[in-house]
């Protein structure tokens, strides 16, 4: 075990930091620390311009194979990039769904034509994606999706409703799981389709969240179409492909998030020093505990990385989602307690505003990407080998 970075890694870190310092200026200066959780509707067009700038400089697709325009960088380098990005206050990534979910799925399971069509525009920061999984009756029980897809005249035709679709209003394309075999239930009979958003058959309706902003949407398909070749895998493989995509959710993108969390904690410490809350022994204990657990989160991620050759997750890999989500939610509560009565002054200043949004948005952290309860089921069943939950026949 050696927790130091190599000189080559440090040089890469300096390169990233230098590039960010030179580029997060001028028109992009205003984007610093913006567009994060609870703030996704800040500067949408400017953040897309920023994505293009990232793409031009080769900072998108760091881990992809070179054949697909990536740089084939190991996870450690990807983590370093994400850490420096957060440290510099890089804005919330408008393109992260395409880069971290769609692209790895296509690289692993897509056709050559799909890779050629879609990867370059993700890599250049010019095309945006959203994830069409959840439905009103298919949340944790994702296999219960009811959106229908039929192949007709060389096109897939979709009817149904998706919900909680993040950034659908900014997206050019959606990846959607739908039911192509009439009468099938659960994990059988599903397709995984790539669907263009800009068409008459697709309606996007924003949903206002408790933060007051609208990060997610309802998406209606009413005879929406996509070309027959825009299927990943074969008809009936939809579940398998959908799960492959989810496995990328716990990849490198979360490795740098501790740096974003550290920024938030540093901001809370600043407030505590300023307003005297930091002299309250109970608050000091909670801040110190938050710090301790953040350090653990990072080490835990490094342990997961250390095992990059393993094909199954080690136990430490299984805890990361529930650990960071719960930690972040607690941090939001701590932030409000540190603000004290100022917590009630809505958006009084940029710091208060960021902490309020952190407090509110972090309630979602323990819900999306597998709720805490679902995470506990996964840990118990897959890591600890305990019996599986009873399931209705109608579902997966």
């Amino acid at each position: 075990m050696n927790l130091d970075f190599t000189p080559e890694d440090e040089a890469f870190r300096a390169e990233v930091a230098g590039w960010l310092a030179a580029n997060l200026v001028g028109e992009f200066e205003q984007l610093k620390f913006r567009g994060g959780p609870g703030d996704e509707d800040a500067f949408p067009e400017e953040r897309k311009a920023w994505e293009r700038r990232l793409g031009e400089a080769g900072w998108i697709g760091l881990g992809w194979p070179e054949a697909h325009g990536g740089r084939n960088l190991p996870l450690v380098r990807q983590m370093i990039f994400n850490e420096e990005y957060a440290r510099a206050g890089g804005p919330g990534r408008a393109g992260h769904i395409g880069e971290t979910l769609v692209a790895p799925t296509l690289i692993a399971l897509g056709t050559d034509a799909q890779k050629t069509r879609f990867l370059p525009d993700i890599r250049s920061g010019t095309e945006y994606w959203c994830q069409g999984y959840s439905e009103p009756n298919a949340g944790s029980d994702l296999a219960n999706v009811a959106t229908k897809a039929r192949l007709e005249g060389g096109k897939w035709v979709l009817n149904g409703q998706k919900v909680w679709t993040s950034l659908a209003h900014e997206a050019d394309w959606a990846f959607v799981i739908a039911r192509s075999e009439p009468g099938s239930v659960g994990r059988e009979g599903l397709v995984y389709l790539l669907v263009p958003m800009d068409q008459p058959g697709v309606t996007v309706r924003p949903i206002v969240q408790m933060t007051g902003s609208s990060e997610f949407n309802e998406v209606y398909f009413d005879e929406a179409v996509t070309d027959a070749e825009n299927i990943v895998g074969a008809p009936g493989d939809g579940w398998k492909v959908a799960m492959a995509t989810l496995s990328f959710e716990r990849g490198a993108s979360t490795l740098g998030q501790q740096m974003q969390f550290r920024n938030e904690l540093a901001m809370i410490i600043d407030v505590a020093n300023r307003n005297g809350a930091g002299r309250n022994p109970a608050i000091r204990q909670r801040i110190a505990k938050a710090w301790a657990q953040l350090a653990i989160m990072r080490m835990n991620a490094l342990r997961t990385l250390g095992d990059s050759t393993a094909t199954t997750l080690g136990r430490e890999g299984y805890i990361s989602k529930i650990y960071w989500a719960t930690w972040h939610r607690n941090l939001g509560e701590l932030a409000m307690d540190v603000l004290g009565e100022d917590a009630e002054r809505w958006e009084a200043d940029p710091v208060t505003s960021r902490l309020q949004k952190l407090f509110l948005f972090s309630r979602a952290d323990t819900i999306y990407a597998g709720t805490n309860q679902i995470q506990r089921n996964i840990i118990a069943e897959r890591a600890l080998g305990m019996p599986r939950e009873a399931r209705e026949k109608t579902s997966g």
Partner: protein, 355 residues
């Protein structure tokens, strides 16, 4: 950047685990606590002396193996799993770390004795009394292994003395501890002969360093105890039936087991990281992180383990209460979670002190 263990570290862990499993199968800590007084004799002969674990982290020039704190953390983790009762913690960790931090030829001579396992040691400070040239008069309370250690290191503000426990003027009263797996004693020194090992104004900082290192080792032991409690709970949940099904199929039981695993893996990450960084500038912060989080995790997991076992969980026959008691005792040893968190608060930019 590589957070995996070296082959040497894995080997030393496996060697310790093999011995400790066998020790456990031969009666383990139960044999010790059932006896009227702990008898470390045979276990120390085998583990400390013959297998050489007494010298694990002590430099080779003093007869040890010179392995690092991470190897020690792995060994301590394995010890924690089986509630190993031995002089290792007091002698090689507490006393060994003080001597290593203090340095000098007298300290090195004592380290060599500890490394061979021939003599065992412990550390205390006086709650009242005084050290005069050549002799000590006073009282030390709650000394770990105070009833069995051959050598007693007495730390004072600007001095370190060694008292040979066999000498006249050393009166040890062993009391029954709630945690039966780690005995303590009060020691009365009545003009006991004392050798000066080191002196100087900077000693209290040196003690703080060695305490932090020892706290990391203890944290690793706590992570091991927590891991054992998780495993015992899952095993029980997969064998005990109620309402016609395994209790492990109830979601309430599964979810609490999952929460236990989260605590265990986080504790292991904390202990490994702290051990890996124990000789760097982050020592204090890392000790704070590891000792506070591992103490909390062990106590919580041991408590959950009792609950998940139902009635048998509160019986003497099952092991859970021994872990629960050791978890409670370990919280207070070498600084409580609250104490360490307050220290950490001072390292992370939080101004002032608690009002």
């Amino acid at each position: 950047m590589d957070a995996s263990f070296t082959e040497d570290q894995e080997m030393i862990r496996e060697a310790a685990a093999t011995y400790l499993r066998d020790w456990s199968d031969r009666g383990g800590f139960r044999k010790q606590v059932d006896a009227s007084a702990l008898d470390y004799g045979s276990v120390w002969q085998e583990f400390g002396i013959e297998l050489g674990f007494a010298g694990l982290t002590i430099p080779e020039v003093q007869g040890g193996s010179g392995l690092g704190d991470l190897a020690r953390a792995l060994v301590m983790e394995e010890m924690g799993r089986v509630l190993f009762t031995s002089p290792y913690f007091a002698s090689c960790v507490l006393a060994g770390d003080v001597l290593a931090a203090v340095g000098g030829s007298d300290a090195e001579g004592l380290l060599a004795k500890i490394a061979s396992g021939e003599r065992t040691a412990t550390v205390c400070s006086l709650t009242s009394g005084s050290v005069r040239s050549g002799e000590i008069t006073g009282v030390a309370r709650n000394v770990v292994d105070g009833g069995t250690a051959d050598l007693i290191l007495v730390i004072g503000g600007d001095s370190l003395h060694m008292v040979d426990a066999s000498k006249a003027g050393v009166i040890r009263s062993v009391f029954r501890t709630m945690d039966l797996t780690r005995p303590q004693a009060d020691i009365k020194f009545a003009a006991a002969p004392a050798e000066l090992v080191a002196s100087g104004a900077g000693l209290s900082e040196v003690y703080a360093l060695s305490e932090a290192r020892s706290a990391i080792a203890l944290a690793a032991e706590q992570a091991g105890g927590a891991g054992a409690m998780l495993d015992a709970t899952v095993a029980y949940a997969l064998e005990r039936k109620q309402f016609g099904r395994l209790i492990g199929s109830f979601q309430a039981v599964k979810h609490r087991s999952a929460d236990m695993m989260v605590l265990v893996e986080a504790a292991r990450s904390a202990a490994y990281q702290a051990a890996a960084l124990a000789h760097g500038p982050e020592l204090f912060a890392q000790a704070a992180i590891a000792k506070s989080e591992c103490s909390d995790a062990y106590f919580a997991v041991a408590g959950h383990a009792i609950q998940m076992h139902g009635g048998v969980g509160v019986t003497w026959e099952y092991d859970m209460h021994f872990h629960f008691k050791r978890a409670r005792a370990g919280m207070g040893l070498l600084g409580s979670p609250e104490v360490w968190r307050e220290r950490l608060a001072g390292c992370i930019g939080l101004e002032g002190t608690a009002a």
